[in-house]
């Protein structure tokens, strides 16, 4: 993959994650409606973004550590197998969803929630093929991915809060989990093949 292609992939995956209501924009809208002010939507987006970045960052660090200790081929095959396995699990158990109870949340709660939600979805894993391409640029990948996610998340959250209203959920909340599972498997297959 070309450099430009890698970076575009990182940004596009960020946008894809940002679009998923389960990743946080919907929670931000819910909190904004609870407090009846749009600023509450915005202030929820920061910890959600941070939690997502930490989850993706953890995967990047793990892959980086793997790059230092494992033969490249082993690492690629291992990461690829993990991704395919996770994707297949999500296809087979589409109902399995992250369990969390609580909507009275502070900054720390939201960071933790977002970290767990992103990790449970394998958000960072999905980036594995690109991370392994650009092992020296891990932090840049996290920054670009997260920035793209935040932009999309903020745009969707504010448009839904101000203009569209939540009725849109009933018509437009397509089951992204299936696409997500397929994306994980595709990334898994791509991981050992790219170079």
């Amino acid at each position: 993959m070309s450099h430009a292609g890698s970076w575009a992939t990182v940004a596009l995956l960020g946008a894809f994650h940002g679009l998923n209501p389960a990743m946080g924009w919907l929670f931000a809208v819910g909190l904004g409606l609870q407090e009846r002010r749009w600023r509450a939507v915005v202030s929820a987006l920061w910890p959600i973004t941070l939690g997502h970045a930490l989850s993706v960052g953890a995967v990047v660090l793990l892959l980086g550590a793997g790059g230092l200790t494992l033969p490249p081929r082993t690492l690629r095959l291992g990461a690829g197998a993990l991704l395919v396995g996770f994707g297949v699990f999500r296809l087979l158990r589409p109902g399995a969803h992250f369990r969390w109870v609580g909507m009275r949340v502070g900054f720390g709660d939201l960071v933790l929630w977002s970290f767990l939600m992103a990790s449970a979805h394998g958000a960072g894993l999905m980036l594995a093929p690109v991370v392994l391409e650009q092992l020296g640029h891990g932090m840049l990948i996290v920054a670009l991915h997260t920035a793209a996610m935040l932009m999309v998340m903020a745009a969707v959250a504010l448009i839904v809060y101000h203009t569209l209203g939540l009725g849109v959920l009933r018509r437009a909340w397509v089951n992204i989990e299936l696409v997500w599972a397929v994306a994980l498997i595709a990334a898994g297959i791509a991981t050992p093949l790219l170079r």
């Binding site: 929670f27 819910g30 609870q34 992250f98 109870v101 909507m103 009933r170 909340w173």
Partner: protein, 467 residues
């Protein structure tokens, strides 16, 4: 037998983010009603499917029924596997179907999982939890209320295997329907149980108090009532940490605190609960719990007095009092939180109150049907017995359905001649006021209807995370 279903592409069309949107739902076409056989009949209870579509040729008739495979379950309350709470933003899983009814037997402690698809008129059992499994995995028996929550299906239970307390709450997994165990981490002083519901977005659960199985299963025990041993509190819980927060007492002269109806608007912090009887004057009451300045409190907002009556017309238990107690045994709040319906099972009256100001309910409507003394008839019937009991309100708030039996061992104490089952429908005027729908009168033979659930949801089955 399978409970596995494929995920859907879009959210179930019966899920609504907010009560405001749910109120725009299309009118229901079917109602599910559990029916109970009196003791000794040797026949099982059933789930009846009632056609409630006025355009249908079978309107007002039973168009399907599922007989249970066992005798003596005493089906009572029941609920959906999934509802609008699946849209809640902290654990969203909206691509599931509102499809299965979780139907507990209050007496047998057996729990049926009933599939209402593919043909909603031909529901069928896909899973049965035997009483022993329920007791072994939860420590509880006599399952009562069912609510679909974001982390699973919540059920309440009256007591334990020995028929004592504590009663409490337990969870079912909403994918596999496996029993996950008792819910509480710290129950504090809570011992009695009955109903449960919540302020979902405020991480608050509420539970109410009836009595332990040994206080209710052989009938209402007058001595226990005089000793004030039935419930007189509601409990506030931290839903997230599963901890008891506070007990709110209505005073122990007021006995049996039953149905909890929190405001549907998630930004409101109040709700209504009905109390069956006061030892002072046999009145019933409705109380409002509310959070003011961060602290929970409860106060009486409605009192319905007993009505003087000729002892000749009263069952033995009531003769000494020369009065009929109203016996408020169910209440229901419309989805827009505007109207509260109050069932007076003893006096045979259904009342409607405007509760937009929840502290000051205004009586806006009343109809009489049945009753211990009155036996008021429906336009399509002769004199009726039993009285307004389990009440359900359509999502748009325009129609109200109710049935007339309470609980087999108690029915006979207040209606010793034997309750003849019926289900009726009320029409609601937009600005308040109710009237008996003259065309809808469903009579049951040899069985008694209890709770009604409307296809697609109703005013007491869904919780919403968005205002």
């Amino acid at each position: 037998m399978s409970t596995a279903t494929s995920p859907t592409l879009l959210p179930d069309p019966t899920f609504y983010p907010s009560p405001r949107l749910a109120a725009q739902a299309p009118p229901e076409k079917l109602a599910y009603v559990v029916t109970i056989r009196p003791e000794g009949s040797g026949r099982p209870d059933a789930l009846a499917v009632v056609d409630v579509d006025p355009a249908s040729r079978e309107y007002g008739r039973i168009v399907g029924r599922l007989e249970m495979p066992n005798v003596g379950d005493e089906l009572h309350h029941f609920g959906w596997n999934a509802c609008s709470s699946a849209l809640c933003p902290y654990a969203p899983h909206p691509h599931v179907e509102r499809r299965f009814l979780i139907v507990p037997g209050l007496r047998s402690s057996r729990i049926y999982v009933v599939d209402t698809k593919p043909d909603p008129r031909r529901p069928h059992i896909v899973k049965v939890f035997e009483p022993d499994e329920v007791a072994r995995k939860t420590g509880y028996t006599r399952p009562h209320t069912v609510h679909c929550g974001p982390e699973g299906i919540y059920l309440t239970a009256l007591g334990n295997r020995e028929g004592k307390g504590p009663g409490g709450v337990f969870l079912l997994d909403h994918d596999t329907f496996e029993i996950k165990g008792a819910w509480e981490r710290d129950r504090g002083p809570q011992y009695l149980a009955y109903d449960a519901w919540w302020h979902l977005t405020q991480d608050v659960m509420l539970t109410s108090e009836w009595g332990t199985p040994d206080l209710v299963e052989s009938g209402l025990i007058p001595q226990a009532l005089m000793e004030k041993r039935y419930g007189h509190q509601i409990h506030v819980w931290d839903l997230r940490r599963r901890k008891h927060v506070k007990a709110l007492s209505v005073g122990d002269d007021d006995q049996m605190v039953l149905e909890l109806r929190p405001a549907h608007d998630p930004n409101k912090s109040y709700g209504f609960v009905g109390v069956v009887i006061s030892l002072k004057d046999l009145s019933s009451s409705v109380w409002l719990w509310h959070r003011t300045d961060g602290d929970w409190a409860i106060e009486k907002v409605l009192e319905i007095p007993a009505e003087p009556a000729d002892p000749e017309l009263l069952p033995p238990a009531l003769k000494p009092f020369s009065a009929v107690p109203p016996l408020v045994t169910d209440i229901d709040l419309s989805i827009d939180d505007r109207f509260l319906y109050v069932s007076c099972w003893g006096t045979g009256e259904m009342r409607q109150y405007d509760v937009r100001d929840p502290f000051h309910p205004k009586l806006t409507g009343s109809v009489h049907l049945g009753g211990i003394v009155r036996h008021t008839a429906h336009p399509k019937s002769g004199p009726l017995n039993g009285g307004p009991q389990m009440v359900e309100v359509s999502r748009d708030g325009k129609r109200v359905y109710f049935t007339n039996s309470l609980y087999i061992p108690w029915d006979v104490q207040f209606y010793p001649e034997g309750i003849k089952g019926w289900m009726v429908k009320l029409d609601v005027k937009p600005e308040g006021g109710i009237s008996v729908n003259p065309d809808f009168f469903l009579e049951f033979t040899d069985e008694r209807p209890h709770q009604v659930r409307l296809q697609g949801g109703d005013a007491s089955s869904d919780s919403y995370c968005f205002p």
